[in-house]
Symmetry: C2
Subunit: 295 residues, 2 copies
C-alpha cells in the first residue's frame, strides 16, 4: 500500500509543522459556487471548486475532508471529480480525510476498503489518508479498514457521537449505563492496537460532534489513543472554546472540521477573489483553534 | 419523482404476480466471472455480468439487489457500470433494491438521497426502487430518504440486525432491556407513517439476517408494517426453513436475498451456458422459499 509512515505520525507531524488543527470540509454544491465557476458542467465545477479550495488552504489546513455524498450526487462524473480532487490534495501535500461513513460486512467491507483506502488506479483510494466509517455492524465489519490502518499507513475515524440533533437516539440512549458512543470509544482502543505511532496516538480515530462538549470529554477518557475528528462548529452551533479537553499538552489528539464556514466564505463579498476569502476564513478558524490550546 | 405507486404496493404485486419472495444479490467480482466475460475492461465486465444476471432471473426474482461496494471498487467506471445495470433492470421491469447502507446528516443525507433515490440523469437514482440505509445517526438522518418513500414511491430498508458474527456487538448487547435492533424496528413504525399501501405494508422496511431466526420473530412483532429484507441464507449459513415467521398469511412481508449462491452457480459446470445455470439456481431458491409459506 501507498504510505510508508503511520497515519497518526504523519498527521501529528503535519499539525506541528504548520501549527494547525483545522480540517477544511469540502461539501461542494452547484448552487453555491464562486462567480467564476460555472455550474453548467457539474464535473468541472466540482473539480475546480475542490482543487481551488485545496490551493487556498494548503498551508493552513491540517487536512481537507471531501464529503463523498456531494460528489455522488452527480453520479459517475462526480466520482471522477472526487478522484481528481483527492489526487490534487495529494500532489499538494495536503492530507485527505474522505468522509464516506461506510459500513458493511465481509467481502463487501473489503470492497469499500479497496475503493476508498486502496491502491487501485481509477479510484480515490491511492490519494486518501483516512476514511470515516460507521460502527453499527460491529468490529468484524471494520476489520478490512483496520487492516489498512495497521499495514498500509492509513487512518480511519469511526463514528461515535454525531453532531446532529437526533444523534443521541441510538448512540446515547436515556438511562443507558454504557451508551453506545462510549462503547465504540472503548472498542477503539483495541482496534488501534498495532498502529501506535511514536506521537503516542494510533490510527483508529473517532468522530465526536462539537455540539456535545461533555461527551467529547467522555470519549477522550475512554479512548486516550485516538485522534478525535470534531465536526459541528460554525453552522451547526458548536463552540470552539469548549474543545480544549480534546487536546493533550502538546496540542495533539484532535482535528476540528469546518465546512461551510470556510468554503462559502466567498459569499460575503462577490467583488473579491474567492480563494483569498476562503484562505482568510481558514486562517481565522485556525487561529481561534490555536487559542484553545493550553499555553 | 419517478414512481407513481407506493413501493410496498409495487413490490407486493410483483411478489404475487411472479410468485417469488427471492431477491438476487449482484456482488460482481472480476476474479469470478463466467468464461465468456473478460475481466480486462472492468466497466464492461461489471455491466455485462450485471445485465446478464438480470436477464437470467427477470421472471424469477422479485427484485435484484446490486451491492454498490463491488462497483465502487472500480471507481467512477464502476459507478457508470452500476448506472447501466440499474437502468437495464428498470427496462426489464425488475425492481432494484440498491444495497448502499448510507447514513449521514442534514444536507449530506439529502445529497445521498438525491444520488441514489433521486431523478438526476447520470446517477443510478432514477432506476432504484429501494435503498438500504444505516440508522446509527438517528431519525433525522433518515428523513431525506423517508421523504422519498412518502412522496416518491421509493422504499428503504433500514439495517436492524445484520447477519455477520459481530452484528450483535452494538445491535444486541447483553443484558440490554431494549436492544438497538428492536428499538430500530419499533421506530420503523413511525417512519413508515404516510407510506402505508393497500397491501397492508408501508415503504420503510428493515434488514434482519437469516442467521438470527429468533430475532426475525422479534422484529416481525415490533414492526408489523415493515417488509423485511433477509440476507444471510446460503454462504452465510442461515436456513431457509426457519424464515416462515417473517411472512403473513398471504405470504407477504419479507424478501429473502441470495447473492453468491445464485450468481456464482455457473462455476459448477464451465461447459454449460452460465445464464442458464444462474436461472436454475434462482428457480430452486425461489421454490424452496415458496415451500416455507403456510399452505
Amino acid at each position: 500500500m501507498s504510505f510508508d509512515d503511520l497515519f497518526s505520525d504523519r498527521i501529528a507531524t503535519r499539525i506541528q509543522t504548520i501549527e494547525s488543527r483545522l480540517v477544511v470540509g469540502i461539501d461542494p454544491r452547484l448552487d453555491r459556487l464562486p462567480p467564476d465557476i460555472s455550474p453548467d458542467d457539474p464535473e468541472q465545477a466540482l473539480t475546480r471548486l475542490g482543487i481551488g479550495v485545496i490551493e487556498a488552504v494548503s498551508s493552513v489546513a491540517a487536512a481537507v475532508k471531501p464529503q463523498i455524498a456531494f460528489f455522488e450526487r452527480w453520479g459517475w462524473r462526480g466520482w471522477r471529480a472526487l478522484e481528481a480532487v483527492c489526487r490534487s490534495a495529494s500532489e499538494q501535500g495536503v492530507p485527505v480525510i474522505l468522509d464516506a461513513k461506510r459500513g458493511d460486512i465481509g467481502s463487501t467491507a473489503e470492497a469499500y476498503a479497496e475503493a476508498l483506502l486502496g491502491d487501485e488506479p481509477g479510484t480515490p483510494g491511492p490519494f486518501v489518508d483516512a476514511l470515516t466509517v460507521n460502527p453499527y455492524l460491529g468490529s468484524d465489519s471494520l476489520e478490512p479498514f483496520i487492516a489498512r490502518v495497521r499495514d498500509g499507513g492509513r487512518g480511519i475515524f469511526v463514528l461515535a457521537r454525531t453532531s446532529n440533533p437526533g444523534g443521541g437516539e441510538f448512540q446515547k440512549r436515556e438511562n443507558d449505563p454504557l451508551p453506545i458512543f462510549e462503547q465504540v470509544a472503548r472498542a477503539a482502543q483495541g482496534w488501534g492496537k498495532g498502529s501506535q505511532g511514536s506521537c503516542g496516538f494510533h490510527g483508529v480515530g473517532l468522530v465526536v460532534g462539537a455540539t456535545y462538549p461533555q461527551e467529547i470529554v467522555r470519549v477522550r477518557e475512554a479512548a486516550p489513543g485516538s485522534f478525535l475528528l470534531i465536526p459541528g462548529i460554525g453552522a451547526q452551533g458548536g463552540a470552539i472554546e469548549s474543545l480544549a479537553p480534546a487536546f493533550d499538552e502538546q496540542g495533539l489528539g484532535a482535528l476540528v472540521n469546518s465546512s461551510r464556514g470556510i468554503v462559502q466564505a466567498f459569499e460575503k463579498d462577490p467583488q473579491r477573489r474567492w480563494q483569498e476569502m476562503v484562505q482568510e476564513a481558514a486562517q481565522q478558524s485556525r487561529e481561534k483553534l490555536q487559542g484553545v490550546l493550553s499555553p
